[in-house]
């Protein structure tokens, strides 16, 4: 990848207890691009994703070696403030997980935690975030309603708005559409396309057609290793590695 990288991993290994989940993973994530990570269950793609905002730190008996840099700074350095890191690297999960609060409060929560108290400023952030997440028109009349009353697809876009509210640089998405119907999925995919203008998106997906549709770069992982990473067109048209070929043509996995 010749484009400028926002995240770079160098020889990353990770163990859960004795089990090694990542083996010598070195990847560059290009800035303002969508990178998809694909691979069979248990190949380490979600583990790698969670390394990028140190979410694996929350799990007991995890050991990680190697280097991961964000904007050329080692995110595993002792001086790294994990709260700041997670502000810069937001995350959207498989199942929409809005707080049991109003739509407004869901989005305002992050900026408040980071010290913004001014109501007008919060209003502006909430509206802008909901607009960027392509859900503003659907919820602008009912911002004080419970977020739990939204449909699954709307809840997922609300969660994206909640992530955007703290102005991240990178958005991690772990199977963001697997709990959604095709129409809600299409809305999220359209949104991902627009998000890359301002953010870097890394998406983990089991759906190879989705990876092919939304991403600029694709990495294929297998048994904890990054087997191949390249432009999405190349990976899906003529992958270099036989393992990648066999996986994307459904011969295993």
């Amino acid at each position: 990848m010749s484009e400028s990288a926002i995240i770079t991993t160098n020889n990353v290994n990770l163990w859960y207890h004795e089990k090694q989940a990542l083996q010598s993973v070195s990847i560059k994530i290009p800035r303002n691009r969508v990178t998809a990570l694909i691979g069979p269950s248990g190949c380490g793609k979600s583990t790698l994703l969670r390394c990028f905002n140190r979410l694996n730190d929350l799990i007991d008996h995890v050991k990680c070696t190697g280097e991961i840099t964000l904007d050329d700074e080692n995110i595993y350095a002792p001086s790294t403030d994990v709260v700041t890191l997670r502000k810069k690297v937001g995350m959207v999960f498989q199942k929409p997980n809005p707080f049991p609060k109003s739509i407004y409060e869901n989005v305002a929560y992050g900026p408040r935690v980071h010290g913004i108290r001014d109501k007008a400023e919060l209003d502006r952030i909430v509206e802008q975030s909901l607009r960027h997440a392509a859900i503003w028109d659907e919820v602008k009349e009912r911002l004080n309603d419970s977020a739990l009353g939204l449909s699954g697809g709307q809840q997922q876009r609300l969660c994206i708005a909640r992530t955007l509210a703290v102005e991240p640089e990178v958005i991690l998405m772990d199977e963001p559409c697997s709990a959604l119907d095709p129409i809600a999925t299409a809305k999220i995919e359209n949104l991902i396309e627009r998000l890359k203008e301002d953010y870097t998106v890394i998406i983990v997906t089991h759906n190879m057609q989705q990876a092919a549709r939304v991403s600029d770069y694709t990495g294929f992982m297998y048994l904890g290793r990054l087997i191949e990473c390249g432009k999405t067109g190349q990976i899906f048209e003529h992958p270099k590695e036989e393992l990648t070929e066999n996986y994307i043509t459904g011969r295993f996995g």
Partner: protein
Amino acid sequence: MAEKFHTELNNLRADTLEMAHLGRFMLRTAVDALIRQDAELAASVVAQKEEIHQMEVRLEEHCYHLIALNQPMAKDMRVIVCTLKVITASLRIGRYGKVIANIVKEISDKPHIANLMSIPHMADLVIDMVDDAVAAYESDNLRLIDDFSSRDDTIDALRHSIFREGISYMMEDPKNISRCTHYIMVARYLERCADHACKIAENVQYMETGERVEIH
């Protein structure tokens, strides 16, 4: 599901080979009918026009169906893309056979001029190219097609030579004009068949390696 798709893909390739063999057979038979001035044999080629057309329609539909239902990727996608090209090339080769067969009817009343010049030799070389291109599609063996560029140059040179020779005979005697014009046209059709063999070869290369090559 992947297993079912791959079985269907293998069936598609087998059916496409059958069509390619029919196209090749029509061309070979038409050239034989021309050499032997056998109008009956030529008529049998013309009668196969509908059969090869029906095969084209059925196989193309099969390709579209596999794409729509399976969204193939990587080599699976390339196999279908290549197959679509093989179908088109095979139809064209068969149709050139039919066109040559139609010429046989027109010129079977008198002996050939100069034993058909180099047409029989040229036809053998073209049909060898078709055979090798189709065999490469069947076996994934790229060595069969690695010299196609120079073989195509030979075919182009032969067409040019037949053209010049035909002109000479026409200048010698205007009664030869009609017959030699047909010979020149046959050489042109054979050259086009070699081009279609090259198209198949280019697509087999893409199918196997993902790389686009152009055979000049």
